[in-house]
């Protein structure tokens, strides 16, 4: 009765050329429905079933490269290139892992993909396994979306029963076992090496990279990890060709991308649009800024991405390169929209609390720094900020960034610097009057710059 139906989030028909979320209605997630939409044809094609001529692993990787598919988990790493890193002739076990630990605040696309189109992920993983010669895979699913985990298990059973997973798939020589696994409430397990630790049954504490998982992954074996959406994009590429996928997006940014639009918009939800779609178009699809207010700022790629003021954002197109050029990152594609009524200090305070809470504690700069950042933003918000706090915030952020094992440290530091860079006056306004009335000392000129 209270559960999401997906009507609001992804069955709204306001996508542009959707590939993954096309033709879904919430009830057609089963195998037979997926096959009616053309599902598993890509797998049949590469395995030379039906009309398919068969494709070699190299040909599969070449198509993915030609399509310029980039990792949808946030870093945008070229997927075909990552796949080509896997040692093909490695004698022992290799693993394939799907990162469905979607925990980046603002991101809710992987849930809808697995809930309403789970077989697209299964088929994508099977194709990837074939391309890299892998026989065992796991999908690690965010613990909070347990119903989706159960749905995915059901879809796996269907695929196994139909001979699409398991030994000698579709009568070929290709064998691939796929299992679902789940987290239980730790944001850090989305980081790929923390995820591997967790999958091994330990605390999710990231490992040093390099070695990358491609050489030392699950149980120390070569492992490829990709995001849910990355895998879900693969069947379309194999069916229609890498060139068609590339043309659907823009150079170096192939295909479509699902953006989770949240915050101050009329119609929050997931929107699948071609890479390179103007931000203004995406905002329009989401019904525009709520209650007729005006746009103040946007966090374009999940809470770890630096905030951008409206004027810059409205000039951007939604793809890795454009957002990077504007000084932020496309990240997981979580577009957090803020209107002119929002207080940036309060927003930053909530984000800083999150990173403090989720730091795994291994690195001193992150463990201590995230707490320090939060305490400072908190006191500014309470009107107890000190004149030196803004410089100190920047300096603490500087000392975290680039000095930690994983990117969570950077994710905590970057929003702080961007908020101060673009909205310094809001922070100063909260610090100044209180300080003046509280202490007789004159305001130092240097701090007003």
């Amino acid at each position: 009765q209270f559960a999401a139906t997906g009507v609001q989030t992804c069955f709204h028909g306001r996508h542009i050329n959707p590939q993954i979320l096309a033709d879904l209605d919430g009830n057609n997630w089963r195998l037979k429905d997926y096959e009616a939409r053309g599902g598993y044809q890509a797998l049949r094609k590469i395995l030379a079933q039906g009309d398919g001529q068969g494709m070699t692993p190299d040909q599969v990787i070449a198509e993915v490269k030609a399509g310029s598919l980039r990792g949808r988990g946030g870093a945008g790493f070229p997927t075909g290139l990552k796949w080509s890193f896997m040692p093909r002739q490695f004698p022992g076990q290799k693993y394939l892992v799907c990162n469905s630990d979607e925990g980046e605040p603002g991101t809710c696309k992987d849930r809808d993909i697995m809930q309403y189109n789970p077989h697209s992920v299964i088929e994508g993983m099977a194709i990837a396994a074939y391309a890299m010669g892998i026989s065992v895979g796991y999908n690690y699913i965010h613990g909070e979306i347990f119903a989706t985990y159960q749905r995915f298990e059901e879809a796996l059973d269907e695929a196994r029963a139909a001979g699409l997973l398991g030994d000698k798939i579709l009568g070929s020589a290709f064998t691939f076992q796929l299992h679902a696994s789940h987290g239980f409430g730790a944001y850090i397990c989305g980081e790929e090496t923390a995820l591997l630790e967790s999958l091994e049954g330990k605390k999710g504490q990231p490992r040093f990279k390099p070695p990358f998982p491609a050489s030392f992954g699950l149980y120390g074996k070569p492992t490829t990890i990709n995001n849910t959406e990355t895998f879900a994009a693969v069947p379309w590429i194999i069916r229609n060709g890498g060139q068609a996928y590339l043309e659907c997006g823009k150079p170096n940014n192939g295909g479509t991308k699902i953006y989770s639009v949240s915050g101050d918009v009329e119609l929050p939800g997931n929107y699948e649009v071609p890479m390179g779609t103007p931000f203004s178009t995406l905002l329009e699809l989401a019904g525009g800024v709520r209650k007729g207010r005006t746009l103040k700022a946007v966090i374009p790629g999940g809470s770890s991405a630096p905030v951008l003021p409206a004027s810059i954002m409205m000039e951007c197109t939604m793809d890795y390169d454009s957002i990077a050029k504007a000084g932020s990152m496309l990240g997981s594609g979580a577009v957090i929209v803020m209107d002119d009524s929002r207080c940036m200090v309060e927003s930053l305070k909530r984000l800083s609390y999150f990173y403090m809470h989720e730091s795994c504690g291994q690195c001193t700069p992150c463990r201590e720094g995230t707490g320090w950042l939060w305490r400072m933003v908190d006191r500014i918000h309470k009107g107890q900020g000190r004149q030196t706090d803004l410089d100190l915030l920047n300096s603490v952020a500087d000392n975290i960034q680039g000095r930690t094992i994983c990117a969570l440290g950077d994710a905590a530091a970057m929003p702080v610097r961007a908020m101060i860079k673009h909205f310094r006056h809001e922070f100063e306004a909260m610090i100044k009057p209180k300080t003046l009335s509280a202490s007789p000392a004159p305001v130092q000129a240097s701090l007003q710059a």
Partner: protein, 173 residues
């Protein structure tokens, strides 16, 4: 914090739980049994409401792990209850995207309605209220996760009232 009723000390795992344990272990290589620890602890919590030291010991024995290694897992992941909680554990997301869409308000409303602060349980042991980080359902805000398994979306104050009243009256019967 108001103490909640401790379940009968004799509470133990059902046979079904061990069937489910075995299913989880089978997903992993023979020398990777430990990989099933999170799933096993989740099953424990589903049956017993929380993960006690005794339960950790059972899981440790089952998977051939040191109890302390199991304990490390219980304490690292936010969703494991390390002590008994109310019959209904309500986790409301208040992270920024939800805060922008009344997530924090939903939490306030529940605090008011239940007469407790976040982190506490009601005196009758029925409800535990917690703030949580992103549940991965941001576009459905306000969202609330009930007992780790059920995601409730678009929880306006009216819907929250309906849910709480419904659960309370079902309990009274």
């Amino acid at each position: 914090m108001i103490p909640v009723h401790t379940p009968a000390p004799a509470a133990s795992l059902s046979e079904q739980a061990f069937v489910r344990f075995a299913r989880e272990v089978a997903k992993f290589p023979a020398d990777g049994k430990q990989s099933a620890v999170m799933a096993c602890l989740t099953i424990v919590q589903e049956e017993l409401g929380f993960v006690s030291a005794e339960s950790e010991k059972i899981v440790a024995d089952y998977l051939g792990m040191a109890p302390i290694a199991v304990h490390e897992v219980t304490t690292f992941y936010n969703m494991y209850n390390q002590r008994p909680v109310g019959k209904y554990k309500l986790n409301v997301c208040t992270n920024l995207p939800c805060q922008l869409r009344d997530g924090a308000k939903a939490l306030k409303h529940l605090e008011h309605k239940l007469g407790i602060s976040m982190g506490e349980s009601t005196a009758d042991g029925l409800f535990t209220l917690q703030q949580s980080e992103c549940l991965g359902a941001c576009a459905d805000s306000p969202v609330m996760l009930v007992n780790d398994l059920t995601m409730c979306s678009f929880m306006s104050n009216d819907k929250l009232d309906q849910l709480i009243d419904g659960l309370t009256s079902a309990e009274a019967k």
